[in-house]
């Protein structure tokens, strides 16, 4: 009996300490940001934000799946103020957890990159691209289009991320189904492409793999190619000539979060023009607002208008995601 009560007492003390320690931190003005962006971007953006506003940032970073899962499980007692770095489809499917805010950068952001009722706003665009390691595969021998990737000579040479674990990989597959003619014909071609790929478990493995020369080719995101190239790796970013799509990532304020004012300050800050320039310089995230001259900025990324963009119905593909993922999974299994 003694041990039991001692244990219970200990537990109570610990719980109390937990609360106290937690609340002690709240004395300073702060904002809790759930983010699936990477560490480099966090360090850059948060340090600058805190320096300017005096608001401390507590980042919780994890894959966007984990982040959204956490917001869902915490819905009765939200621990976060901001969710950042999450794809449009995830933002759309979790709208009920956000509170609306009209950003100061609203007008500078094209309408297709904002939520009509201001529940979220886009920050940056990820173009789906092909990365090529020019040391393993000479520059002129690389593919030019998505269709080129169907060539059996690439079997086992293309790194790809499991669509079950990556929103952009899911978008890539579904975009290509439409692009290759849709329906069974589109799926048949996609199957041919999947047969050539190594389906890795995490998106970071794809750009690390191409950057380090493990795979000559990888299907990845635009910024990764520029980051690795800027670091001195022989990585070339290929914009497929047959077109691609721009995946938007955005920011939203968590409904009922503990620091709503700080949250609003962050939403305004992160889309400011000078901040976006700073972010391009270090991390090559293509901004959602279209009033920056990319050619004059590091990396000299091509303007969005110069890239062929394919139509893509993100909402429709998100609705059928569960069944589509099973289909992809089976297809991957069949082609191993």
């Amino acid at each position: 009996m003694k041990i039991g009560s001692v244990g219970a007492l200990g537990l109570a003390v610990l719980a109390l300490a937990n609360v106290c320690l937690g609340s002690k931190v709240e004395a300073q003005q702060k904002v809790v940001i759930y983010s699936s962006n990477d560490d480099t971007l966090h360090k850059l953006a948060f340090a600058a934000f805190t320096k300017e506003t005096g608001i401390a940032v507590e980042p919780i970073s994890a894959g966007s799946g984990v982040v959204m899962k956490r917001i869902q499980t915490e819905k009765d007692r939200p621990g976060g103020d901001i969710v950042w770095g999450v794809s449009r489809s995830l933002l759309d499917t979790n709208k009920q957890y956000f509170s609306a805010y009209l950003s100061k950068n609203n007008d500078a952001t094209p309408t297709q990159y904002r939520e009509p009722t201001n529940l979220w706003i886009g920050n940056n665009l990820h173009l789906l691209v092909i990365l090529q390691n020019t040391k393993v595969l000479p520059e002129d021998q690389g593919p030019k289009t998505w269709a080129d990737l169907l060539d059996p000579k690439w079997k086992g040479k293309i790194a790809f991320t499991d669509p079950a674990n990556s929103g952009s990989a899911y978008s890539t597959v579904t975009m290509l189904v439409d692009h290759f003619g849709g329906g069974d014909a589109g799926w048949a071609k996609v199957k041919g492409l999947l047969a050539n790929t190594k389906v890795l478990n995490r998106s970071s493995l794809v750009f690390q793999g191409v950057g380090n020369g493990e795979y000559p080719l990888g299907i990845s995101l635009e910024y990764a190619g520029y980051v690795w190239a800027a670091g001195g790796a022989p990585v070339k970013t290929i914009y497929p000539a047959d077109g691609t799509i721009a995946q938007m990532e955005g920011v939203a304020i968590v409904k009922g979060g503990p620091n709503p004012d700080s949250a609003k300050a962050f939403v305004d800050y992160i889309n400011r023009k000078d901040v976006r320039e700073m972010i391009i310089k270090d991390t090559f995230r293509r901004p959602a607002r279209q009033d920056l001259d990319l050619s004059k900025l590091p990396g000299s990324m091509p303007a969005l208008s110069s890239i062929k963009l394919l139509p893509y119905n993100e909402v429709a593909w998100t609705e059928v995601r569960a069944a589509t993922l099973e289909k992809i999974k089976d297809m991957i299994q069949e082609t191993r």
Binding site: K2, I3, G4, G7, G10, L14, A17, L21, G22, V25, V32, S36, D38, D39, T40, L41, H42, E58, I60, G63, S64, G65, V66, K69, R70, T73, E74, D76, R77, G79, S87, D162, P163, A164, N165, S166, G167, Y170, K198, L200, N201, S204, F207, Q208, G211, N212, G213, V227, A230, G231, G232, T283, R321, A322, L325, E326, K329, D330, Q333, R336
Partner: protein, 553 residues
């Protein structure tokens, strides 16, 4: 008479048992139910069904993941045992140089988070790896480390201490006279080893092999990197729970349950087997070193050092990498201290957190695990058996699953823990509890219960007897269990990544984020720091273990 004497004595184990059940019920079973119940419920959560199981198991992809997982587990367990038992024999019974250093280094693989180790191994043995390129340039047909052979090799070299340590302890604990008896009966040394020594240490070998098997079933970091597109249960479970796109609680629950059932059945089989084979030989005289010829001595020495050093390759790689220049994610062949400068600019708090959490969890695990170990050894009832299974269950639960369960269970309602540090320490304590339980019960088997009875008969209450007499006697076992907890918590990732919040980042989170992001340099520097700080308790443990005959595990 019997009733009069037994009843008061039973009060203490009953009270402690109830407390232990409450703890495990609240922080293990209840959270697990929250996660896994989805697997037996219809999508709307109202009715009971096995449909989810039928649906998952009808998919060849998931069946393949079960088969692959079992194959990897079985192969890795076999190779680990085959490598570790001869090594243990050499360390325990042969005269080879540098033995203490050898066994000290042999524990190191346990402190390296597997995802960092896998990263380092890719740089060495991947398709474009340094070693691969070198071997290929010499015409050696070495492919790469990907796939099942690579995963099995990595597991073997990182998990062999789990078999090595208890086997060395058991080999040293055999009473000399048993082997002498065999020889005096006309059995040659080799036959004596095969028919007497080996069967006696087999239970210890098996308990170590079991840990290896469970770790391979549960581990996420290694297959996530090395499996490429081979489906593996732990990775698929993770993706289904918290994949960016595929979050599917019922499907994930099915795989989670499969993982637990696999592990639990292995545990049960082992227990059944061991129940009839508990060879407590209270050793009076440890067997002497076996005299061998110089030739065999060279063979044994080279073998031992080759295994231990090979297992340390990822360590050396990480250490070297941490002093090399990274521009963004890209490695350049130049010396630099930049990684450490960058690390210490931002990672002091995570480092402090890691130390704090590991210490708290080791303390809490001992506080709960030692009484549980005592109950398991000193009492015998249906409840004891149940407690045994419950206290071993954490081995069978992947960190991710437990962590998600804890978030679901303690995010609202009477006890809110999310967002703080306590939930992390609780997760660690529960996950590592089997270490202290097993270490304490192992050492208790060697302590004569008559000592406790003597103390109680002298008028000292059972609780005071436990605290003042038994626990000091158990100290060696308790400390080794705590060290193992400390070290594995310090390198824990899978539950941390789900539970950490705000200022409570740990060093492994720093590594994970750096590796996932674009700063591998910071990751390897952090890993080097982690190795350095975990070395301290490991060395302390070894000083103690020398005295306590490696009774850990």
């Amino acid at each position: 008479m019997k009733a009069l004497t037994i009843a008061p004595l039973a009060r203490l184990p009953v009270a402690m048992g109830v407390a232990a059940f409450l703890f495990l019920g609240l922080f293990l079973l209840y959270p697990l139910w929250g996660v896994l119940s989805a697997s037996v419920l219809t999508p709307d959560g109202t009715a009971f069904t096995f449909g989810n199981y039928a649906r998952m198991l009808s998919r060849s992809f998931y069946r393949a993941s079960v088969v692959n997982t079992l194959m990897i587990g079985a192969l890795a367990t076999i190779t680990t045992t085959l490598i570790a038992v001869p090594l243990a024999f050499a360390i325990a019974r042969l005269d080879i140089p540098g033995k203490l250093l050898l066994i000290g280094l042999a524990a190191l693989p346990l402190v390296l988070p597997s995802f960092v180790g896998a990263y380092a191994l890719l740089l060495l043995f991947g398709r474009a790896g340094v070693v691969t390129q070198f071997l290929n340039s010499w015409g050696v047909p070495f492919g790469s480390i990907y796939g099942m052979p690579g995963i099995v090799a990595v597991y073997t070299l990182t998990l062999y201490p789990y078999v090595l340590l208890p086997t060395v302890a058991a080999l040293k604990a055999i009473d000399m006279s048993v082997e002498e008896a065999a020889q005096s009966l006309g059995s040659a040394p080799a036959r004596t080893f095969r028919t007497i020594t080996l069967p006696i240490v087999i239970p210890s070998v098996l308990s170590g092999a079991l840990l290896v098997l469970i770790e391979t079933l549960e581990n996420f970091g290694v297959p996530a990197v090395l499996a490429e597109d081979m489906p593996v249960l732990s990775v698929e479970t993770y993706k289904l729970f918290i994949g960016e796109t595929a979050a599917n609680p019922s499907a994930a629950g099915v795989l989670g349950v499969l993982l637990i059932v696999l592990t639990a059945s292995v545990l049960i089989i082992q227990r059944r087997y061991l129940a009839s084979r508990r060879f407590a030989t209270g050793a009076r005289v440890a067997p002497p070193l076996i005299k061998i010829s110089t030739g065999w001595r060279i063979v044994a020495t080279s073998y031992s050092w080759a295994v231990v050093l090979l297992a340390l390759v990822p360590f050396f790689a990480i250490l070297v990498l941490s002093f090399m220049e990274f521009r963004g994610p890209v490695l350049h062949a130049a010396f630099s201290l930049k990684n450490y400068v960058e690390l210490f600019a931002s990672a002091q708090r995570p480092l402090a957190n890691t130390l704090l959490f590991a210490t708290l969890a080791a303390g809490a695990a001992a506080f709960i695990g030692v009484p549980v170990g005592w109950i398991l050894v000193r009492t015998r009832s249906v409840w004891t058996g149940l407690l045994d299974v419950t206290a071993t269950l954490p081995f069978a639960v992947a960190g991710t699953i437990l962590a998600i369960g804890l978030v679901i269970a303690f995010n609202a309602g009477g006890l809110v823990l999310t967002g703080g540090w306590l939930i992390m320490v609780l997760a660690y304590t529960v996950r590592k509890l089997p270490f202290t339980v097993r270490a304490s019960s192992a050492i208790l088997h060697q302590i004569d219960p008559a000592l406790e009875e003597a103390s109680i008969s002298l008028g000292v209450s059972p609780l005071r007897t436990l605290i003042r007499l038994v626990i000091p006697l158990m100290l060696g076992g308790i400390i080794s269990g705590m060290v193992l907890t400390w070290v594995t918590v310090a390198s824990e990732l899978s539950s941390t990544v789900v539970l950490y919040s705000g200022p409570w980042r740990t060093l492994t989170i720093v590594m994970f984020q750096a590796l996932e992001g674009t700063g591998a340099g910071v990751a390897v520097a952090a890993a080097s720091v982690l190795i350095a700080i975990t070395l301290v308790p490991v060395l302390v443990a070894y000083r103690l273990l020398r005295r306590y005959e490696l009774s850990m595990l």
